[in-house]
Subunit: 339 residues, 2 copies
DNA sequence: CTGTTAGCGCATTCAT
DNA sequence: ATGAATGCGCTAACAG
């Protein structure tokens, strides 16, 4: 069952070179020959050894998926989309998570683990610092960033500024003026990461509406449920008069809702909450959110990467717009009820 | 920067064989030599080509992760645990999802995509049918199943029977007698899959309590939020007197809670709900659940697989117990309030 | 403990 | 359109 290319060649009555060409769909093989080779291969259950093919060709037909986690909404959905798009083109997805613990600073990404192992790299949702990007580029492979833009690198991402602005504007339109913002930890933030842009959108919307920015209305925490919950509690302590929250992710937004519940407050009567993502489970708390197409982002990035590998021109960034999904966690502030 | 093994050999003043041995930590290399080789390799930035090493050795140091999805709670957590355990041992994780659409029957798993590409296979949470198992075994690699047992194959899984029994007993203890069950679609079910065992646990607990089983109290749907919601609606139609639900997964349980909400019913006053998983977001609806250690299951399975690959004896199945986490979605039935 | 040698199984020239 | 020959970069016997 574990036959080699020469067995196929013998059965088909051709040379190994012809088998190689026929099976890979290269031109300059007669239809008849190709068919004969195909059936011989099928009959023998022959599949080319990826190792041998890689060694000989220098290509691995494998893409490295670099991500901090797979068990978070955005990441798992992007990976889902990317893996399917890659496989549709005959590429393998090599999953590589780098530990991002909340205790210790994360380890630096070590390019060696991907050396000579992949044809390209997809970096999912995590802004690497300059030296890490440089070291990865040193591998000599095309690389695309998803969800976090890196200067000079191809990126597939959201219009985070507009996202923050729209979410905040939605709250302003409802009559809120004390609108808080929950974002990621400062140490997670590079100048080009989504949290920063979403925050700028928040500030921009406030400024446009002539609402003064209050530093006390801004809290940073971990990018998950507990982080959102803790951040919201801190925000309540700092600003008891806060009436609305724009959280940089749905999980944080849901955490904020839990914090409100901890204090016996009603959503949206006592606190309006809007998040970012379009997490399915947001429905549980009627979370209003800015929906992003995470699976499609992953698939799109994978497709672009394969085009780059195939020698295509360097594409421009792909920027997706989010859409507001009002499920009910936002409403007019209590103080504005009489308006 | 892309140096070969012979460059390292030249710089270190040894043969390529010694370089290979030294760098891989094999015995029979003097400390001094090993150190000299190491520094030469470091200086040149040398990392062995995986393709060449695989071709020469027959081993790939790669494990195939076979899973229907990555964007569901159980799967992403198992994968997270497995990938980290694999990487800690220097193994790569090749992610391979096979499309499980709710529209069309899923494609059969094609072993060819993993042929000569991996040293072992982890099948996550999906019971393959006999012929698929046979074809995968034909690849000649060790294989471990996580979350779904397959006769004759090593498995890491839950005690699903006890899980179903304990969850149901919890409801019985609260005074419920009309206890429904929401499970996966019949076509998803093989005789050894978790849904079947959880259902048997449900039936066993009912039988133990002398409560007659009513087929109308059982509904099958898709294993996700919408599936749970639809199933619960159907159950309400079939049995308006149902007071409690044991759902085979947290996502389905949360769907059931949404269905109750759709009808204006209170949880747990009008409907008690218990799920299985320990999904973090269950907190949003105070979901009571049977907690399982998904990350650990993935890591354990990965470790066992590597031991098998290293030539260890075939291990017995690893069976985890779940623990009841009462977050509030269960309580006495209305009719029993006076008890 | 270390060096020599022979492949591993293909893709790819260069012929024809 | 096809074949013959070469080598990708390393591991594994074997020899010493």
């Amino acid at each position: 069952m574990a036959h080699g290319i020469d067995e196929v060649a013998r059965v088909a009555g051709v040379s190994t070179a012809t088998v190689s060409r026929a099976l890979r769909g290269l031109p300059n093989v007669s239809v008849a020959t190709r068919e004969r080779v195909r059936s011989a291969a099928a009959q023998l259950g022959y599949v080319a050894s990826p190792s041998a093919a890689s060694l000989a060709s220098g290509r691995t037909r494998t893409i490295g998926l670099l991500t901090p986690w797979v068990n978070h909404w955005f990441f798992s959905n992007v990976i889902e989309g990317a893996e399917q798009a890659l496989r549709a083109q005959g590429y393998d997805a090599l999953l590589h998570t780098f530990e991002v613990s909340r205790k210790v600073p994360r380890l630096r990404v070590d390019p060696d683990v991907l050396r000579r192992r992949v044809d390209g790299i997809l970096v999912v949702g995590f802004p690497l610092d300059d030296s890490e990007v440089v070291s990865l580029l040193g591998l000599g492979h095309p690389m695309i960033f998803i969800g976090s833009s890196v200067p000079g690198q191809v990126t597939v991402r959201l219009d985070d500024l507009a996202t923050g602005r729209t979410a905040t504007q939605h709250l302003i339109d409802l009559g809120h003026r004390r609108i808080g913002h929950i974002s990621g930890s400062p140490d997670d933030i590079t100048p080009f990461s989504p949290p920063v842009a979403r925050r700028r959108g928040w500030l921009a919307a406030l400024a446009d509406a002539g609402i003064p920015a209050d530093p006390q209305l801004e809290v940073h925490g971990h990018f998950d449920l507990d982080g959102g919950r803790e951040s919201m509690h801190q925000l309540f302590r700092q600003c008891p008069d806060v009436t609305a929250i724009f959280a940089a992710s749905d999980e944080m937004a849901m955490g904020a809702i839990l914090a409100a519940r901890d204090l016996g407050l009603q959503v949206p009567q006592d606190l309006s909450v809007v998040g970012v993502d379009g997490h399915d489970l947001g429905e549980l708390v009627r979370l209003t959110t800015m929906v992003q197409p995470a699976v499609e982002e992953g698939a799109k990035a994978a497709t672009l990467l394969l085009e780059l590998i195939a020698g295509g021109a360097v594409p421009g960034d792909v920027v997706y717009q989010t859409t507001l999904l009002d499920r009910g966690s936002t409403g007019p502030p209590r103080a504005a009820h009489g308006m």
